[in-house]
């Protein structure tokens, strides 16, 4: 899972022990990045 810190804009990897917190600046708001997968949509 890759997230982005909303304050310092750096990429953050979350592990199961660290809790939701940016390891660089300590900010607790993280944004989930869009997956790089190709998404298929139907038109209807």
């Amino acid at each position: 899972m890759s997230y982005k810190c909303s304050r310092c804009k750096r990429d953050v990897e979350l592990d199961e022990y660290g809790g939701v917190r940016c390891p660089y600046c300590g900010h607790r708001v993280l944004l989930k990045e869009r997956s790089r997968d190709i998404k298929e949509v139907n038109v209807n």
Partner: protein, 259 residues
């Protein structure tokens, strides 16, 4: 009903036409109209693979907009064939239908300037779209004829001279008239008369014949069609394939029903 119909073109363009058909019943005229809207297949985007979409709209909304872009449809396409269109636009810019790159040169967006989405600095739209044949009865994106209608042909006969103090009410009519009193030659010919669009005299017969009494009547079994396509095919192709689909279904019915 005869096998031959009398068709006269009043206006003809690549994408729109106005024509008079004589000798068809109202039911048949409506059948042609409905076939033009619902039973002529056109290509439209059906599946979209989004590679990158950092625009402000959801993938699904963009897919819907892509579906509604009319694509030119060559007549040799089969229902299972697909055409792939690709687009890659980076902001700041507006992504237009003209930015779509098609895998088949004959299948192109009918209009180049349909906006898909406005992209700001740093936003990007990259995707592939598969277009398929479909029918207007299944989805509006597959409608080939978009402004299709018909009216009765109206016949205008001249009466006697209007009195000096006759009321000056406008005589509004719309469509196409068959003008029996237009010229000596058409009156002498005995049949019909000159075909005149009512727009040419501002839809008011009082403008055309200020001091004559006139009578207006529907001509039985004569219809003036007004047809416009979305650009996926020419009006000729649209009307012909609509009539063809009507014929095919009539044949199917004849085969299915044993009398």
């Amino acid at each position: 009903m005869s096998d031959q119909y009398d068709v006269t073109f009043i206006e003809q363009d690549e994408r729109s036409a106005k024509f008079l058909v004589r000798g068809i019943t109202p039911a048949f005229a409506n059948g042609i109209r409905r076939a033009m809207i619902a039973d002529v297949p056109t290509l439209s985007v059906d599946t979209v693979r989004v590679i990158e979409n950092s625009s402000v709209m959801f993938d699904e909304q963009i897919a819907l907009r892509l579906g509604l872009i009319p694509l030119t449809t060559p007549d040799d396409y089969r229902p299972e064939e697909t055409v792939t269109l690709a687009i890659d636009v980076e902001g700041p810019a507006t992504a237009y239908s003209g930015d779509l790159v098609s895998s088949d040169a004959k299948v192109q967006p009918a209009e180049e300037h349909v906006p898909i989405i406005d992209l700001k600095e740093g936003q990007r739209l990259e995707l592939e779209a598969d277009a398929e044949l479909g029918y207007g009865k299944d989805h509006a994106k597959h409608q080939g004829g978009v402004a299709v209608g018909y009216r009765h042909l109206q016949r205008v006969e001249l009466g006697d001279e209007r009195g000096e103090f006759a009321e000056d009410d406008p005589e509004i009519i719309r469509g196409v008239i068959e003008d029996a009193g237009a010229s000596e030659t058409s009156r002498a010919a005995g049949d019909g008369g000159e075909l005149v669009e009512t727009a040419s005299f501002d839809n008011d017969l009082g403008n055309r014949y200020p001091d004559r009494n006139v009578s207006v009547e529907d001509v039985p079994n004569a219809f003036v069609f007004d047809v416009e396509t979305d650009g996926s095919m020419s009006v000729d192709d649209l009307v012909l394939s609509a009539v063809e689909s009507l014929r095919t279904r009539a044949d199917e019915l004849e085969d299915a029903v044993q009398l």
